[in-house]
């Protein structure tokens, strides 16, 4: 899949920039963390397929296997940028 970089937008107030949808950012669109796709981009497993296995360390240092841990309950799995910034 060819992914296009979204560079729309420009300077905003003071040292800030604004993207094409009106969100402020510390860097010009298409730079640093603000490298977002314009148009199609991969969104992973399809609706109707089994969620791939996820095994990772949680906030208390415990190893979590999501499918085992949810113990037959429905779940929401969020991929987000960072808890730090």
């Amino acid at each position: 899949m060819e992914i296009t970089l979204d560079t729309r937008g420009g300077p905003s107030n003071g040292p800030y920039f604004e993207d094409a949808e009106g969100f402020n950012m510390p860097e010009p669109p298409g730079n640093g963390s603000r490298r977002i796709p314009l148009g199609d981009f991969p969104t992973g497993p399809d609706v109707g397929s089994r969620l791939p296995d996820i095994v990772a360390t949680d906030q208390s240092g415990r190893t979590v296997d999501v499918h085992a841990d949810r113990a037959g309950q429905p779940a929401v799995v969020v991929f987000y940028r960072s808890a730090v910034w």
């Binding site: 009106g22 963390s33 095994v55 360390t57 949810r70 309950q73 779940a75 929401v76 987000y80 808890a83």
Partner: protein, 285 residues
């Protein structure tokens, strides 16, 4: 989070942060959902959602996903997913919970089973606040009398599809409307097939607030969302005139939870953010 627990739905949030950064965040915010650490972006890569627009030597940004959410049912099957191209926008928890429970298009029975003779419509905002960049849904519920139907897209010239229309606003973004599947109805005369809804019909329009509205709103604490519902009802013999119902909601703006690089004014609670950020830069440099 209480709503998730009450509904028996688990919540996992995965990022490329180190476990000790998650521990500090969880402590600072009293987090009760499961935060997962994927410092080498292995899970992110295995899902095929690594942001490949970021070069591998650009720290600390390399390793980020194209952010989004998956909703899985009790069998672990993906039943819905929410991805927006702009990483400033993410789905609200109400919508993901509704999808997890299979209730996205379920209408609450407010008329107590009383039959109606013409279509009635209601509209609400799902979620009490509209923080910048977090989507909420405008939810329209149409009560369609037995023997009548409404239309979904596409409609031929002369008929009006059921829809939620927003007034133009610099500060409110809207996304593709979510609608339940339609039933095909083939007309005897022309052989043309129309897409119809019967019974109670729920439509959902995701909206988000950008930074412009935050700056422009008079006191900065409320945003106004206005627009109209449109629909046209028909029975087997005739079509009624198209109808329109305006709406206007003044919703508390709210603020997203931001990462804390603190300490500093308005930056509570502290979670050693600057130190963890430096680690993100140094760990692969």
């Amino acid at each position: 989070m209480d709503a998730y627990r009450a509904a028996g739905v688990r919540l996992y949030a995965l990022s490329y942060d180190e476990p000790d950064a998650l521990a500090d965040y969880a402590k600072a915010h009293d987090t009760t959902f499961t935060m997962l650490s994927d410092p080498d972006s292995e899970v992110i890569e295995s899902f095929g959602i690594l942001n490949t627009l970021i070069p591998p030597d650009d720290h600390p940004w390399y390793g980020l996903p194209f952010p989004g959410s998956y909703v899985v049912d009790a069998d672990g099957i993906v039943v819905a997913k929410f991805f927006e191209h702009n990483f400033a926008v993410r789905s609200g928890p109400e919508q993901m919970l509704a999808a997890a429970l299979g209730q996205e298009f379920e209408a609450e029975d407010v008329r107590g089973g009383q039959p109606v003779d013409r279509v009635s419509a209601e509209v609400m905002v799902d979620g009490d606040r509209l923080p910048m960049g977090v989507t909420r849904h405008i939810v329209a519920t149409f009560r369609v009398p037995e023997g009548q139907h409404l239309y979904g897209e596409p409609v031929p010239e002369g008929l009006v599809a059921s829809t939620i229309e927003l007034d133009d606003s610099d500060g409110i973004l809207s996304y593709e409307m979510l609608a339940p599947p339609t039933s095909p109805l083939t007309l005897a005369g022309s052989g043309e097939t129309l897409q119809t809804y019967e019974g109670d019909v729920v439509l959902r329009l995701p909206i988000a607030q950008n930074a412009r509205q935050m700056q422009k709103d008079d006191d900065g604490r409320y945003v106004t969302i206005s627009g109209r519902l449109r629909w046209q009802a028909c029975d087997d013999n005739e079509c009624f005139l198209p109808e329109s119902m305006p709406f206007s909601f003044r919703v508390e703006a709210g603020f997203p939870v931001l990462g804390d690089m603190g300490p500093g004014v308005g930056r509570v609670p502290a979670m050693n953010g600057a130190q963890h950020f430096q680690r993100l830069i140094d760990r692969r440099a």
